[in-house]
């Protein structure tokens, strides 16, 4: 029986694990934190229809019940490999071997403190979209730091994305639709609030997203201002004064908000000890893992038997991550079946 080790127990890792097990492979999943599910743990409701994230998370976790090895709280301290397979050292005291490895270590979220002028960590009523989502999940009423019901809430797009000063030139893709979704959610919780979204572009790329935008405007009265925040300031009562240029009028504008939500972007994992650098894999210009052959095989790396999927190759939605997980499972399954005669150049042949 051949074995696969999946590094990263998030959405991609769990779905690929389930599929590979069903295909008859022996799977081990290694997860750095103390729980499975990755970023899905931080979502309350998924766009565009606000599908509750909980059931999907449970399903992914439960799928991995039979015949699978799960290791949590695992810190990978070394990886060695040859043509036959891989040896992975965990926590400096345990060794796992595998014929093939799948990297699904995902991405990092931009640290909003780096945008000093927005005052995250300094002003009391500035939060990130991740924190807002967790507030929805907690079910507790949304209040300002002073304990009041906010009457005006602003969402700032592109925090840490499309920004040379932040070190990320790329677009994080999912934040625009997330902002619209969260705006609708907060409006339903606080119907009296005025909601403003400050955007450079509105990237409503997916199915049903554009309709969500129109619904936000018409059904919920949410206002969209094409502007980028230059600086925010905290008034003595804790409210925020922001400074923008209303680009469609070409005039500067200032207004007060009770609360400001920063749409923090998705960025590649760069901390020391991350696996991409540890394995000597190449990063693309945007810092995410380089995909040698995005059309033929987006999951292959230059190391034979080492595959990647999910957020490690760039920002994606949960649907897209699941699709990648299923595809890479089939590819790994195929590799393991034809390992001995593998040349690295054959066209992909599906055999299920």
């Amino acid at each position: 029986m051949k074995s696969v080790t999946i590094i990263g127990g998030g959405v991609a890792g769990l779905e690929a694990a389930a599929r590979l097990t069903r295909m008859g492979q022996a799977v081990t999943v290694i997860e750095k934190s103390d729980q499975l599910g990755g970023r899905l743990n931080q979502w309350h409701a998924l766009f565009p229809f606000r599908t509750p994230a909980g059931p999907l998370l449970s399903k992914l976790r439960n799928n991995v019940a039979e015949g699978m090895n799960m290791i949590v709280n695992a810190n990978i301290t070394g990886v060695e490999y040859n043509d036959d397979g891989f040896a992975i050292r965990i926590n400096n005291n345990r060794m796992i071997t595998a014929n093939s490895v799948l990297l699904t270590t995902g991405f990092d979220i931009f640290d909003a403190e780096k945008k000093e002028e927005y005052g995250y960590g300094i002003y009391e009523n500035v939060i990130t979209s991740v924190e807002l989502e967790q507030m929805f999940h907690s079910g507790k009423p949304i209040l300002t730091a002073q304990g009041n019901i906010p009457s005006r809430i602003g969402f700032i797009h592109c925090v840490g994305s499309r920004d040379e000063k932040a070190g990320n030139l790329h677009c994080s893709k999912v934040c625009c639709v997330t902002a619209v979704k969260q705006a609708i959610e907060i409006k339903e919780l606080i119907p009296s609030a005025e909601i403003f979204l400050y955007y450079m572009d509105l990237r409503m790329f997916g199915r049903h997203f554009e309709e969500l935008y129109k619904e936000a405007q018409f059904k919920h009265g949410i206002q969209f201002i094409r502007a980028r925040l230059s600086e925010a300031f905290e008034n003595p009562d804790g409210t925020l004064q922001i400074r923008i240029e209303d680009t469609l009028l070409a005039k500067p504008l200032k207004m007060n908000l009770d609360m400001m939500v920063l749409m923090v972007g998705i960025q590649p994992q760069r901390k020391t000890g991350n696996l991409i650098d540890m394995l000597g894999l190449e990063r693309d210009a945007d810092g995410f893992l380089m995909q040698e052959d995005p059309y033929g095989s987006p999951f292959k790396t230059k190391i034979r038997g080492l595959y990647c999927a999910g957020g490690i190759t760039g920002p994606k939605t949960i649907e897209e991550t699941l699709i990648e997980a299923r595809a890479v499972a089939a590819e790994i399954n195929n590799y393991l079946k034809h390992k001995e005669t593998y040349t690295g150049h054959e066209h992909f042949v599906m055999e299920l």
């Binding site: 129109k214 018409f218 009028l249 005039k251």
Partner: protein, 114 residues
């Protein structure tokens, strides 16, 4: 007063909180589709009046949302109601009604009716 030879310049920053949005509220009451507008500017690019006058419905709707009454009243009467914008709008906004209501609101403000 001393003649300094220069003057304090007017502040052109839009002060959102001090502006009055009564024109927007009046229009929205009569034509809710004003909220569908996404400022794409197709109306302004089709517009007859814009060819020879400083008029832009895209801009007028944003000005209404910001509460910029003086600017609205300066340009809103230039529309000739030809209807090209109504044909062009991708969101199905009833543009002619919006302009009509804006002009009506502007007149009412002049007559101190609202």
């Amino acid at each position: 007063m001393i003649g300094f030879g220069y003057k304090i310049q007017a502040d052109r920053q839009i002060d959102y909180d001090s502006n009055n949005r009564r024109i927007l509220e009046f229009v929205r009451d009569g034509e809710p589709s004003i909220d569908w507008c996404m400022s794409c500017g197709t109306c302004a690019s089709a517009c007859t009046a814009a060819m020879t006058a400083d008029y832009s419905l895209r801009r007028l709707i944003i000005q209404a949302r910001r509460g910029m009454e003086n600017e609205i009243r300066e340009s809103v009467y230039r529309c000739r109601f030809c209807g090209k914008c109504f044909n062009a709008c991708p969101r199905g906004v009833n543009t002619r009604n919006i302009v009509y209501l804006m002009q009506l609101a502007a007149t009412k403000i002049t007559n101190h009716e609202i």
